[in-house]
Every structure is written in C-alpha cells, then in structure tokens.
C-alpha cells in the first residue's frame, strides 16, 4: 500500500515537474509565491487544490529562505518571472505545468521561509529582518532536518548534539582536529549549507553554533541536491551532511543512498529518529517533541487596508486542507494540525499544542498507508462522543 502511494505520489510529481510544453503569459490574477525550495512539494499540493477553486499559483524557488522568502517580505521587488533569469512554474487545473512570464512586472504575493525572519540577520543582501507591520507570518507545515550519512550498515546510526557541534562547528571549519569525533574527522567529507539556508540556520541554532559561522567555504553546498550528490559520491564512513528530511524521501520509488541519523539533543538521554523507527513514516518524534530539529514553514503575506487579497487568503487557508495534509504527509513533513508541540522561535523550547481541528489519525493514514489501531473512522461528529469531533474522516479530541 505504502509503495503504491509513493509510486502514485511520484507520478504526480513527475507530471508537475515535467518539461513544459508551452510558454504561457501570466495573467493578473495569479498568486505569486517565492522562497524556500523545501516548500515546493507543499506548494504543488496547494496549487492543485487552489486550481479547482479558480486560484492559480505561480511558484518560484529562490533556493533559500532568507534571500527568497524573507527578502520578499521585507524588500519586495518587481519581476516578470518571479525570479531573475528563469521562468516560474504556473499551476493551472487545465495546464498543470507551463512556464510563465508576466507582461507587467510585479512583486511576490507570498514569501516562503524555513525560519522566522530575524533568523536571517547578517545575511548579505537583506537590509532588515524586521517584518513590516502589514506583513503577516502564517505558520505552515513542519519540516524535520537531519544529519545524513551514507547508507552502509557498518556506519553509525546515531549522533549527539555535542558530537555534531564539534563536527560542523570546529572540524568542519578547519579548526582544531583534536575535537574530531570518529568517524567524522575529515573536513573534506563534512557537507554543510550556506549562510542564507534555512536548513543551516535551523541546525546552527539547534546545536548552539553561531549561525554566522557555517562550515568552511569549500564545504558549503548550494542546495539539498548538492549535499546528496556529495554524500553519494564520497561513499565513505567519514561523510556527513545536513539536509531536510523530505529531501531524502524516495522519488519515483528511488531513494537516495543516504540515511538520516538518529539525533540526541542537548539535555536528552537517548537519540531518536524523526519517526518511531528508522523505517517508519509516522513522524511521531517530531510531533511529540522527541526529535528536536524541526521548523515550521513560514508564509509571509502582505495585507492591503488590513486584509489579504481574497486569493491570497484562500491559499493560506488551503495550507491545512485535507488534500494538502495528504500530500504533505507523503513528503515526511507534518501539517500543524498533526503536531502535539509547538515552538515560537527557531530551535526554541517546546510547549504543548493542540490544533482546533487535530488531524493526527488522518495524517498517519496518509503517511504510513494505514491509520493507527486506536483511531476510529467517522462521517460526522455524532460518531465521536461528547468530547470528540470528526476531522478528515477520523474521530479526534475536541
């Protein structure tokens, strides 16, 4: 069942990213989204739903959270493509994939980031990281970030915060080799990201490293694909890289030859995977606070006269729709409705969280192919008792 879902998801993804058959002109009604490349699969999901409600989405990946998502929020710039030098992807129910150019330059409607805006402080090209008063920050699905190694059974399966601190903060910066932690002692095999990466920003804060000091320049990769390629080609026990978990989800049934390490955070007694085991996809340890390295996607949107435009409001509303939750679950991200903890700053402490419409059962069904045995199906609230409610076909607590 799980395999068929992955194959189906892969097929859908292939359709969405297939080479374009024709160029299209953007009309004035599209919602232009720009920012974190890690958000692309979610945007695809939302776009498919939005298209059925007469809202077209144009998405442009800038490759980073700070210079895409936050930049658009604090320093909006006009463009004809959404990204200088490249066409954007336009999602239309009748033409799922087509390149798009604007006849009139315009600014992005929504900027997407892996981190809160202030986390981008010090990134060159940003004049400020303070959101203007008319820009809102809507929290989207949670992404887990991992430390990945080559998939060899003889390689370690777990790492601690202290070991990662030394590896990425000292050895990875050509520092004192005596701080090296076996087997990650070779600087050439330690792969990080650039300063403007939300993945790096999240890891730095989680490890207590100065965010402005990533690994040495030669080891900074431009994107997740570069980190994966570096790990794949190194094929050594000493190789390790930082990456978002959804970047190593099998695509078209093919999984990268790397795997995530279980992580033991500062103050934690044991290491945990994002899900309950290395092979599970329930993401329970992210959802309940056992896995500490995660962040919400942030959707920055400008209001005019106190309100979002109806189409922007619709897109924000669809982030937690049943259809979006379904697709998000298959990418190893977690919609906020399935979370049991929350945080209000990057890598900040947890507090309890319960969504108004919790969706844990539906999430696990979509992520794993089967709902937990403890979940009860329903068609309306009457089946769920006085303290329950029917959410996406399952009884959840009110």
């Amino acid at each position: 069942m799980r395999r068929s879902l992955l194959v189906a998801a892969g097929a859908v993804a292939s359709l969405l990213i297939a080479p374009t058959a024709q160029a299209a002109d953007c009309d004035s009604d599209v919602v232009l989204i720009r920012g974190s490349s890690a958000s692309q699969k979610l945007i695809e999901a939302v776009a498919k739903v939005a298209a059925t409600q007469n809202v077209k989405i144009v998405y442009s990946s800038s490759g980073s959270s700070c210079l895409g998502g936050v930049y658009e929020a604090v320093t909006p710039t006009t463009t004809t493509t959404g990204r200088a030098g490249s066409a954007s992807t336009i999602y239309d129910v009748n033409a799922p994939t087509a390149t798009c150019t604007f006849s009139t330059p315009r600014v992005a409607d929504i900027g997407v980031s892996d981190v809160y805006a202030p986390a981008c402080e010090g990134v060159a090209g940003l004049s400020t990281t303070t959101l203007p008063a008319d820009v809102t920050d809507t929290l989207g699905p949670v992404q887990a970030f991992t430390l990945a190694v080559n998939d060899d059974p003889s390689f370690p399966v777990a790492i601690s915060s202290e070991a990662a601190f030394n590896t990425f903060g000292i050895v990875g910066r050509n520092g004192d080799a005596s701080f090296g932690v076996t087997p990650w002692t070779t600087v050439a095999d330690i792969f990080g990201r650039k300063l403007d990466s939300g993945t790096w920003q999240t890891w730095a804060r989680s490890l207590g490293l100065p965010p402005q000091k990533p690994v040495t320049d030669a080891q900074q990769k431009s994107g997740a694909k570069d980190v994966l390629a570096a790990l794949d080609t190194s094929n050594r026990a000493s190789a390790i890289g930082i990456i978002a978990l959804n970047d190593i989800v099998p695509t078209n049934g093919v999984a990268p030859k790397v795997r995530p390490l279980a992580f033991r955070a500062k103050g934690q007694d044991f290491a945990y995977y994002p899900s309950s085991t290395s092979t599970a996809s329930d993401m329970i340890n992210v959802r309940d606070g056992h896995y500490a390295v995660w962040a919400n996607l942030h959707f920055f949107a400008r209001k005019t006269n106190g309100s979002h435009s109806p189409k922007v409001a619709k897109v924000l509303e669809l982030l937690e729709s049943k259809e979006a939750v379904s697709v998000v679950a298959k990418t190893r991200a977690v919609p906020t409705c399935a979370m049991q903890v929350q945080r209000t700053t990057d890598a900040g402490d947890f507090s309890a969280y319960k969504a108004e419409k919790p969706c844990g059962c539906f999430f696990e069904q979509e992520a794993s192919g089967v709902a937990p045995a403890s979940c009860t199906t329903c068609t309306d609230d009457s089946a769920c008792g006085a303290n329950g409610q029917c959410v996406f076909g399952f009884c959840e607590a009110k």
Partner: protein, 107 residues
Amino acid sequence: MFKLKALFLTALLAVSTVALVACDDDGSNKVNGGDTFNPGGGTDAGNEPGNNPDGGSDTTDGGCPNKPAGCFCGTPTTQAQWLNRCTNSAALPVNLTVKPATTADIP
C-alpha cells in the same frame, strides 16, 4: 459499631492498594538524574532501531509506556521533560567519544 469500623478499614486498605500500584506521574522521578549529556549505560550507537535498550517491561500504566529507562512520565513543563518523555519509539544510546567544546573553540 464493630462492623462499621471493619468496613471502614477494609475500604481504607483498598484505596491504599490502588494508590500504591498506580503510575507515579508527578514528575519527581521521571528525568534521568544523571548527566544528560553523557548518560551511562549506553552500549554503542550501532544498535539496530527497535531494539529498545530500556531493559524495562512493556507494561503501561496510565498510558505511559515506561520506556526508555529513566523516562519522564508526567506532564512536561521543561524542555528536558519534553525530550525525555516515555515513548514507544526506538530510543538509541549514543556512545561517541566527544571532547568537550564551547563556542570559544570555534575558529
């Protein structure tokens, strides 16, 4: 009068017994009292996931799985309690040799 007193004592004994076997979830004994940065008893980071090294039983009390060893079984109020709550997930010991470092050691 005697019957009434006996009934009262029997009820008191029953309540006490229930209290003794119930889950202690007040939080006082839940977080590993040792050094959380270097917990003892770890064997090797190479343990297979799923081989939970808790050494305890799978008995649940009040919905708390009682694993891994030293886990927190109450309502968390601190970050350490959230991170160390009892869980059915695979909990892996980490036994890497790490030289203590601070931000002053970062070049």
